[in-house]
């Protein structure tokens, strides 16, 4: 009964470098979300995967951000050519299929990855 896990827990990188953040959702959860938590912007939605459907990428702030989900499980968020404003905590969440509990199911959050861009 492991929860959502994320790696690394901390990442320090230099401006201009690419980074990859990983999320392992709860087993059996078909929905996976990425959010970003930063001092100036609070908690922002980035991207949402639901089963085999096309992801909702409406929250990605620029084309430097992308995410994929392989085999309906693990997800990787990639930030290319990092900028200092990308510094934030990146949170991943997963939930059971929509309608499992009669409506939107609870999102369970991982501990986050703290990204620092120097």
């Amino acid at each position: 009964g492991a929860g959502v896990s994320q790696s690394p827990s901390n990442k320090v990188t230099e401006k201009g470098k690419d980074v990859e953040l990983r999320c392992d959702p709860i087993s059996g959860h078909t929905a996976l979300y990425w959010y970003r938590q930063s001092l100036g912007q609070g908690l922002e939605f980035l991207i949402y995967f639901q089963g085999n459907s096309a992801p909702d990428k409406s929250g990605l702030p620029s084309d430097r951000f992308s995410a994929e989900r392989t085999g309906g499980s693990v997800s990787t968020l990639t930030i290319q050519r990092t900028q200092q404003e990308d510094s934030a905590v990146y949170l991943c969440a997963s939930s059971a299929p929509w309608g499992t509990s009669g409506g939107a199911d609870t999102q369970y959050f991982g501990p986050g990855t703290r990204l620092t861009v120097l």
Partner: protein, 114 residues
Amino acid sequence: AQSVTQPDIHITVSEGASLELRCNYSYGATPYLFWYVQSPGQGLQLLLKYFSGDTLVQGIKGFEAEFKRSQSSFNLRKPSVHWSDAAEYFCAVGAQDGNEKLTFGTGTRLTIIP
């Protein structure tokens, strides 16, 4: 588009005192509403949620919240706070269209004094 307002950035209460954290939402229909708590260095933990039915919902750690459609509010309450309740609290709204992305408020930081 939905939005959430938490008007109080920081609240300080004495241990044992009652607590109310305010949350107002904007959404065109009946929303899904959530309260999450985040302790320092920790992820978000769900306190309670409202989907439908009884407008007073009970959560973990002795918290409750009341959905008031006429006021577009979903305030969080606790009758007697404990020092361990010191944390940041986030209200969130979700749409009832099958896309479950959440829109969060900016959070309220709760400090407990002895």
